[in-house]
Structures are given as structure tokens and as C-alpha cells.
């Protein structure tokens, strides 16, 4: 069996390209996962020793579920790459949602082509299943302005491969370009071409606040849709998801079912979406009834954080992902995100804070803030 990156990555790209039509089924996934593990075990010596310390080697492993998962916070402590840092094409960095120095995670990406092979079919499946080629308008910095943002990179790919045009209306220094955004939307309306709005909940709230201040409603052309991501993990302004979606619907004249949440993380190259545009029950259901689903090359389990054993269906635990697109770093990831799974997919409950007993000891967030600001 070969331990070179390129052939396996190429094979995975082919698998991803046809996966939504024909699998991969459980056997194929298992086989690819074990090969990825063998490669990562051999080419990332740190991860290899980590696995050996947990008593797992490619020879002894009895299935993908037994492959040791690396906690996502480890990406803040050391570079995680299967190979050498010379093999790395791009480093994506987390925005550091907990704030403060030393809290930035890094994902060393060996192949942007493998990233694209995962991102494009997945996005097409859940955001553009009707074959529409919209005008993409991202409330994000452009990939040129934010080369370390995996989200901007993805938006760039989506714009190039799946859309008629692309525009980025958020700038790292000056923030959201509301005039530009408004002009773009009005122009799309004048020619009646559908729009794909992409943005973080934070940016969307900012945009809606701006429109509300002048009581403006800006109905978007038929076929328009919104991809909203992040922002419901306790950061930024407190706006409920229900309120945000209601505001988008009323201001832009969209059905709530045209708003799709994306769940992604810098440490993982594949994304999760709510199949609202595909699944009629989810389209008509409440936001609570929505679920995220992985693409066929990703498996998500819900684990009891005390034992790392799988939870029963419906039981709350931490999400643990296995993403074949992470071939160049590490496929098995233990996240800090709480969730629960059912037959449809999983429900993301975020990082619940404030409910756990802290006593009078300093919370990590407060510590990091103190360190960053010197207060």
C-alpha cells in the first residue's frame, strides 16, 4: 500500500466528485478511512506517537471508529500536518473566538485542490440543488484580503465555480460596505437575477440593522437564497436565530426555507449544511427541527465526553468528526461542540457556557482576555 499523499488525494477527489450519486458506501468509506489513517500515522510522527500512546496502530485498529481523534484545541498548540511544513500549500487560521493571545488555531493545508473537491459538490448539493447560477455576494473579506480565512477561500471557490459573478463586501479595515452591498442587490433586482448572499450571522445582523435604520425593504429576485454561518456560539450581539431569519425573510422577501445554515471549522476542510432546500419536511419545519448533515465522505458521531463512548440517539454529547478531506492533516477530530444526533442528521447545540460550575476560579476566557488586554 502506498504512503504517498498525491495518489490517495487524487483518488479521494474522484470519490468526492461522484459520492453524492453513488456513495461511498460504508465498506468503501471504511477502506479509505483506514488508508488515510495509515498514511497519517506514518507521515505525522507526532500523531503516530499520540495513537501509539493510546494503544492504536494501523495494524491493530479494528475500524474507523477506533482511530484516535485529535482535539481541535491542539491546532492552537502545534502544527498538525501529515508530511512536512514544506508540503503545505496554505495555512488557514481561526479567528480566535475566545479572544486573546495564543488562542489562534492553525490548519496546515497540503492540497487546496482536495479542499475544492470537497467544498464544491457539497455546496452545490445543499445550496444550489436546482441548478441555479446566482450572483454571489459575500458579506466576507475577499480571499485576497483574508488569505488565512478558510471561509473566504471557500466563498471564492463557490463564486468562481458555481456562480455567475462574485463580490465581497466586507473589508478587514473598514467593515461592511453597506453602500456597495445595496448597489449590488438593487442591480440584481433590476435585471431579475437571483442572488446568493453568504455571510456570518454577525455581518447579517449588521446589514439588517443598517436597513432597519432607514426602514428599507429590499425584495430579492426569485430564486435568491442565503448561506448563514456561525455566530450562534455566544459571540457578538445576542440575536436569536429565529429573529435573524425572520428579519432576513421580511426585509429581503425570502422564504425562511431559503436560508441555510453552514457549520464549518477551520480545522476541518469539509462543511455541514442543513438540507432545507432538499428535504420537504425540513423546509416546512421549525428551526428546532432542522438538522445538519455531513457529505458522504464525512462521518459524525456524538460522544460522551467523560468516556469517549458513543451516545445513544437523542443524547447530548460532543461532536466527533471523521473527514477524509483532512488527509493532509488529521481526519479524526474531537470538537468542543455539543450536539445530538438522530436518523436525519445532528443538531448543533453550540458551546454552552455559563451552565457549568466554575466556582470562583477564573474562567479560561476571562484569563485570556486579561492576558490580551493586561486589565
Amino acid at each position: 500500500m502506498s504512503l504517498a499523499f498525491a495518489p490517495l488525494a487524487t483518488e479521494l477527489e474522484e470519490v468526492f466528485g461522484s459520492a453524492f450519486d453513488e456513495g461511498p458506501g460504508e465498506d468503501r468509506f471504511e477502506q479509505l478511512a483506514l488508508r488515510a489513517f495509515e498514511f497519517q500515522f506514518a507521515r505525522n510522527e507526532t500523531y503516530g506517537r499520540f495513537c501509539r500512546a493510546r494503544g492504536v496502530t494501523p495494524a491493530s485498529v479494528d475500524g474507523w471508529r477506533s482511530i484516535p481523534a485529535v482535539p481541535t484545541s491542539a491546532f492552537k498548540s502545534l502544527p498538525i500536518v501529515a508530511g512536512t511544513t514544506d508540503d503545505v500549500e496554505r495555512v488557514f487560521r481561526t479567528s480566535g473566538t475566545t479572544g486573546g493571545a495564543g488562542s489562534t488555531g492553525e490548519h496546515h493545508v497540503r492540497s487546496l485542490s482536495l479542499y475544492e473537491a470537497s467544498a464544491i459538490p457539497n455546496f452545490r448539493r445543499y445550496l444550489l440543488p436546482d441548478g441555479v447560477r446566482p450572483r454571489m455576494i459575500a458579506l466576507l473579506p475577499s480571499p485576497e484580503e483574508a488569505p488565512e480565512s478558510s471561509l473566504s477561500h471557500m466563498a471564492g471557490l463557490v463564486g468562481d465555480r458555481l456562480c455567475d459573478s462574485k463580490a465581497f463586501v466586507f473589508h478587514p479595515q473598514t467593515g461592511l460596505d453597506t453602500h456597495g452591498l445595496r448597489a449590488l442587490l438593487e442591480n440584481a433586482r433590476s435585471v431579475d437575477e437571483p442572488v446568493l448572499l453568504m455571510g456570518t450571522a454577525f455581518a447579517l445582523v449588521h446589514w439588517l440593522d443598517h436597513l432597519a435604520s432607514s426602514s428599507t425593504r429590499l425584495t430579492l429576485p426569485a430564486g435568491s437564497r442565503v448561506m448563514e454561518t456561525g455566530g450562534f456560539k455566544g459571540r457578538s450581539r445576542e440575536v436569536s436565530r429565529e429573529a435573524l431569519y425572520a428579519a432576513i425573510s421580511s426585509v429581503h422577501g425570502l422564504e425562511r426555507s431559503s436560508i441555510v445554515n453552514e457549520y464549518g471549522m477551520t480545522e476541518m476542510l469539509s462543511q455541514f449544511y442543513e438540507p432545507v432546500l432538499l428535504d420537504p419536511r425540513m423546509r416546512e419545519g421549525t428551526l428546532e427541527e432542522r438538522r445538519h448533515v455531513p457529505p458522504p465522505w464525512v462521518r459524525t458521531r456524538v460522544l460522551d465526553p467523560a468516556t469517549l463512548e458513543a451516545c445513544e440517539a437523542g443524547e447530548v454529547g460532543v461532536l466527533c468528526h471523521f473527514d477524509l478531506a483532512n488527509l493532509g492533516s488529521v481526519c479524526a477530530l474531537l470538537t468542543e461542540d455539543l450536539g445530538r444526533a438522530d436518523r436525519v442528521g445532528f443538531e448543533l447545540l453550540g458551546r454552552v457556557q455559563g451552565s457549568s460550575p466554575r466556582g470562583c476560579s477564573l474562567a479560561v476566557e476571562d484569563f485570556l482576555r486579561a492576558q490580551a488586554t493586561g486589565v
Binding site: 506517537r49 485529535v70 465526553p305 467523560a306
Partner: protein, 469 residues
């Protein structure tokens, strides 16, 4: 048979709750719900009781408080029994740890200790009762706010009860809102006062309510004369924002502790006892105290290697986990532990990182040896960083970046070097130095975050006019 219920309130005579609600977080705990008008009536009653308090001497109050406090230490007393029954349920400490913590807290609740506290804070304590002549001819009297609101934090049981006791000691009526996990002891204190001293019982009201869920909270901030609050920066800022500028606000921020062991005291002979004391400091309260060490700095050059110390500490933590087992972890705590442990394991797996890990089974305890001296917060649950430093004289610069978050420094340092270490570290902001074994138990009169515990609640009135005419 119906399941037992703990009613998380204790109120002045003649005031009853309007309705009650069951906690959705802790099974078996019920709390009071009431209208805004009810809260105003309550505050008025407490103010009346405050006037009554002024007719009593501080020493008399200390002795009545001590009578209640000593019951928590007395085997078989119904107050102690109720505390032992409900502390493990509400605080998520194990039964053995809950009992240990109760014993530690109750040590400071005796008449002797409370009187000593009065004497150390006010010389003489009669300053709280009347004008007392001072050197130079002037006289002074110490007064307290009529009604003080005490807002407790999470789950180091006993902290909120101690805040209540301090309030009554200085004759300020107390409205106490404990944190959910620390509701039991202040409520039992209220019930004990009702039995022992109805006058004091009428000067305090203890009621848990879920923060932010009720509308009366903001109204209360306008109604009370002073606020004492424990909590995260976010909690304290939100309280401060809602207080009238004229209302005194005593705030205790969340803090972290550390420990330092010097090379000359760490010998093959002392190793086991130093490791045992370190394990004890980090294990009490399952490390949730602001007094609990997160990082232990071990000075290089002793006859014991850092690895040797780590092994001894691991052994001691393991033994202590059997004697005083850890409580059950919440999902968030267990997840935080997995993240920190897993990241440490990854670093330990890096070539030549020098990082080593020792983990207890079922998440009971964790030790990570890390050559990087930077202070790192622990995820609690008995997770201890051990960091070698060449010389303890490096500590002030290592700790300076987090000085505002540091509180207790537990020391195992020879007498000859102790003064120098303390001098340098107090300069960067450490406000309490203690021994490893003493770290969890500051005495009643400690200057919490640098301030006198009773003086913080009071104001001095000076009279320079006596004898002038």
C-alpha cells in the same frame, strides 16, 4: 412517598413566598417566585430589622452567629445533617469532599474566630456600636449600609454564607442571592438563625433565583444600599452597569492560584510530603477555588528531577482521589478536560518537546509537565501544570502578564529565601502567600483580594468636635 425537596429560601418572620418553582437544573431544588411588590415589602422589612440590629453590640452578634456556625461542625446536629445531605446534590462535589469543605468552612464560623475577626478589623470592635475615642482626641464610629445585597457565584460552598455572616457582623441587613450550587449553606444559616436568634434571622433574607429570569432584579439594585458580588468579569460588569453611582459596590472577580517550590526544600526526603500537600491544594473544591493552584513552578537544581516530582504528584493525586473523590463532571467540564488532555498528549508526542503527561482514570486528575513557563489556566477538575523554572527570581516576569488575574501563591520555600520571593511577587500583584497545605483555607480575616473583609462593607464616621466647646 414524595421525593425530598430543598426549599432554597429563608425569610424574615411573617413573610412567605408567593409561589414556588422547581429548578430545571438541580433536581429536588425549589425556589421562590414573587411579584415586584413582594420584593419591596421584603426590603422594607429588612430595613426595619437593621434598626433593631443597631441596638445590639457587635460582640453579642458575633457570639449569636457563632452559636449557629458551630452547629455545622457538630456531628449529628440537624443543620450539619441537612448540609451533608444537600451539598453533594447541589454543588456537584462528592459526598466526602462536600463534608471536607463543610468542615473547613465551619472552622471559621465559631464564636472565637468571628470575635477574632472583629478584633482584627476594628480595634476595638465597639467602634461598630458607638463613637469610640481615638488617639489624638477625636472619636470615630463605624457604620454599615442599612441593606446590603449579596450576589454569590458558582459552587464553592460556603462563600455566600460567609458573605452573609460578615454582613450581620457589621450590622448590615442582608439580602442574599446565592449561586445555584451554593444555595444550601446560606439557606441553612437562615434557618439556624431562626432557631437561635430570631432578631438576626429577621435581618436577613436568603433566596435563590435564576439570574436574568426574573424582572425584579434591576429594581432591587435601585433599592439596596450596597452590593457585594462574586463572579466572572461579565457578571460583575453587568451588575455595576445597573447600580446607581451612589451605591457602594464590593466585587470579587474570579481569580486563579499558583504554587512555587524552591530547589533547596525539594529533597528526596521531603518529596512525598510536598507532593501530598500540592495534590491537596489542587484537589480541594475540585480546584474551583480562586485559591486553588493551576500551575506549580518547580525550581531546577534540586536533588529531585521535575519528572520525579511529577511522578510523586501523580501518586499523591491518585491517593487523594480515593480519599476525597472528585464530583461528577458536567458535559462542559468533561469536554474541556478532553480538549486539554488531548492537546497535552499531542504536545507530549512531539519530538523533544519535553512535555509529559500523567492521567488518573476516569478523568479523576491530570498532571502535565511543560517546560514552557508561561502561566496556563487549568480546565479545573484537578488538572495541574508542572513547570520547571531555572530560578524562582524569574517568576515575577513570568507571572506579570497575568498579574491581575492572580490571587493566591502557595509556597514551599526556605525561610532564608521566602522574604525575597514574596517581596518580588507582591510587587506584580499577588495578594496572598501561604503554604501548600494552607492554600484552600485562608483565615476568616484574610484580606480577600487585598481588602479587609469587614472594612470593605463599612464607612468610618469621624468626630473631631468633641471637647472643643
Amino acid at each position: 412517598m414524595s421525593e425530598p425537596v430543598f426549599r432554597a429560601w429563608a425569610l424574615p418572620a411573617g413573610i412567605d413566598v408567593e409561589s414556588r418553582e422547581r429548578s430545571r437544573i438541580i433536581e429536588g431544588l425549589a425556589y421562590a417566585r414573587a411579584s415586584d411588590a413582594w420584593w419591596s415589602t421584603l426590603c422594607a422589612r429588612l430595613r426595619d430589622a437593621h434598626a433593631q440590629l443597631q441596638t445590639r453590640s457587635a460582640r453579642d452578634i458575633a457570639s449569636a452567629l457563632g452559636e449557629v456556625g458551630e452547629r455545622f461542625a457538630e456531628a449529628g446536629d440537624p443543620l450539619r445533617e441537612a448540609a451533608l445531605e444537600w451539598l453533594p446534590v447541589t454543588s456537584s462535589l462528592s459526598e466526602a469532599m462536600a463534608e471536607h469543605v463543610l468542615d473547613g468552612m465551619a472552622r471559621d464560623w465559631s464564636t472565637a474566630r468571628l470575635t477574632r475577626l472583629l478584633e482584627l478589623e476594628f480595634d476595638p470592635p465597639e467602634l461598630l456600636d458607638r463613637f469610640v475615642e481615638r488617639e489624638g482626641g477625636a472619636s470615630a464610629h463605624v457604620r454599615s449600609p442599612a441593606l446590603t445585597l449579596h450576589v454569590g457565584a458558582g459552587t464553592v460552598p460556603g462563600v455566600t454564607a460567609t458573605s452573609l455572616v460578615r454582613s450581620l457582623l457589621v450590622k448590615s441587613a442582608a439580602l442574599v442571592k446565592p449561586g445555584l450550587g451554593d444555595a444550601v449553606l446560606p439557606v441553612l444559616w437562615g434557618r439556624g438563625l431562626r432557631e437561635v436568634d430570631p432578631g438576626l434571622a429577621d435581618a436577613c433574607a436568603i433566596a435563590y433565583w435564576p439570574g436574568g429570569e426574573t424582572t425584579h432584579e434591576s429594581g432591587l439594585y435601585a433599592e439596596v444600599d450596597a452590593v457585594v458580588a462574586y463572579g466572572s468579569d461579565a457578571t460583575l460588569l453587568s451588575i455595576r452597569d445597573r447600580l446607581p453611582l451612589s451605591t457602594p459596590f464590593v466585587s470579587y472577580r474570579h481569580r486563579a492560584g499558583a504554587a512555587a517550590i524552591s530547589s533547596e526544600v525539594l529533597t528526596a526526603e521531603s518529596l512525598r510530603s510536598i507532593a501530598r500537600d500540592t495534590a491537596y491544594a489542587a484537589s480541594v473544591f475540585d480546584q474551583r477555588g480562586c485559591v486553588s493552584p493551576h500551575v506549580v513552578y518547580v525550581e531546577s537544581g534540586s536533588e529531585v528531577t521535575a519528572e520525579g516530582f511529577v511522578d510523586a504528584l501523580a501518586e499523591a493525586l491518585d491517593a487523594l482521589a480515593k480519599e476525597l473523590p472528585p464530583g461528577k463532571a458536567s458535559l462542559e467540564e468533561a469536554s474541556a478536560l478532553q480538549q486539554l488532555r488531548g492537546s497535552a498528549e499531542m504536545r507530549a508526542s512531539e519530538a523533544a518537546s519535553g512535555v509529559e503527561v500523567r492521567f488518573g482514570s476516569e478523568g479523576a486528575w491530570s498532571v502535565v509537565l511543560d517546560p514552557d513557563p508561561t502561566f496556563r489556566p487549568s480546565c479545573l477538575r484537578r488538572f495541574v501544570w508542572v513547570k520547571p523554572v531555572e530560578d524562582l527570581s524569574r517568576l515575577p516576569s513570568v507571572l506579570a502578564p497575568i498579574a491581575s488575574a492572580l490571587q493566591t501563591m502557595a509556597l514551599a520555600v526556605s525561610e532564608a529565601r521566602r522574604g525575597g520571593v514574596i517581596e518580588a511577587l507582591s510587587e506584580v500583584g499577588v495578594s496572598r502567600f501561604t503554604t501548600l497545605a494552607g492554600a484552600p483555607w485562608p483565615p476568616a480575616w484574610w484580606h480577600h483580594d487585598g481588602e479587609g473583609p469587614l472594612r470593605a462593607l463599612t464607612t468610618w464616621v469621624d468626630d473631631e468636635s468633641a471637647g472643643a466647646v
